[in-house]
Symmetry: C2
Subunit: 178 residues, 2 copies
């Protein structure tokens, strides 16, 4: 839908380094394995220097379903989570309660395979298109956005569960969304 238009000076040889999320390439994992290892990513500061992290060193990441386009969730990444996401092709986030990065789907198996990562104009929000296994929401829904405000200002559930949380999470991690 969005025309490919690479700015002058930023054009690269696509024949050797295919764009992540390039249309017509269905196996995103293959693409992402072509990402440089962490050390090179760290050395190549361009994307990181363009990002504006919060005072806590975090950046919000919107996760959009590559299948259908539904917005699945929003979570926060620290630098380590972003590097791990780039390195593995699977989303990682930062847990404020545990003060460390965690892999989405670690417990549930409901991982998110990254297809592309975009950055907004201000460099302070990430948009990650990903292929979601199972459901993104720890409450059992495909998307965390399963409630809608109706005209009176009340909330209604507008989705159906795709899994039963109790069968996926133990009581310990029922609220972690892992």
């Amino acid at each position: 839908m969005i025309a490919l238009s690479i700015a002058a000076g930023e054009r690269r040889d696509r024949s050797t380094t295919p764009a992540v999320g390039a249309s017509g390439v269905s196996d995103s994992a293959v693409n992402l394995r072509e990402f440089s290892p962490v050390s090179d990513l760290e050395a190549n500061l361009e994307p990181f220097s363009k990002l504006r992290w919060s005072v806590d060193g975090l950046i919000p990441a919107i996760i959009q379903d590559a299948d259908g386009g539904d917005v699945l969730m929003m979570a926060w990444m620290d630098r380590a989570a972003l590097v791990r996401t780039l390195e593995t092709g699977l989303t990682h986030f930062y847990s404020r309660s545990r003060r460390s990065s965690w892999k989405k789907g670690e417990t549930s198996g409901h991982v998110q395979r990254v297809e592309s990562i975009r950055i907004d104009c201000d460099g302070d929000v990430l948009l990650v298109k990903a292929r979601q296994t199972g459901g993104a929401c720890h409450e059992g829904y495909r998307s965390c956005f399963f409630r809608e405000l109706d005209p009176s200002g009340r909330l209604s559930v507008v989705a159906e569960r795709v899994f039963v949380p109790e069968t996926v999470y133990s009581a310990k991690d029922a609220n972690s969304g892992e």
Copy 2:
């Protein structure tokens, strides 16, 4: 795509108060005019009590294009901006620099007509589906997410401008996105 499933106890009489974003209803403005006035919204605390605002009294709002599903932008709302959004059916946000709410499109005319508002499982993120006039991005793009990380970690512009910023914004507000 998402099946309508209203939880028991939350079902309302849809014949008199059609759901915002109900499929088959194309004129969202009509729906939104049926939102209760601010005073009633303030009195009906359900949605507000379910929201978890930041320590600054803000909540992130993801704006998704109701036409096509592209994620257009993310911005922050304070309580006043959310109330104004519900009241008018047009998105309003909070400006940290000016410390006040502002209407998206005030300067540019590139308003966003709200079709539906969803809340995530934790109640700390809003997802607003809206019909965008012109472009959401103050840099002239339809979406603020017009740059993509390629496999080497470099950024590439992957969209084309839909308007020329200089013809829409004065120098004064070129960075405000209004």
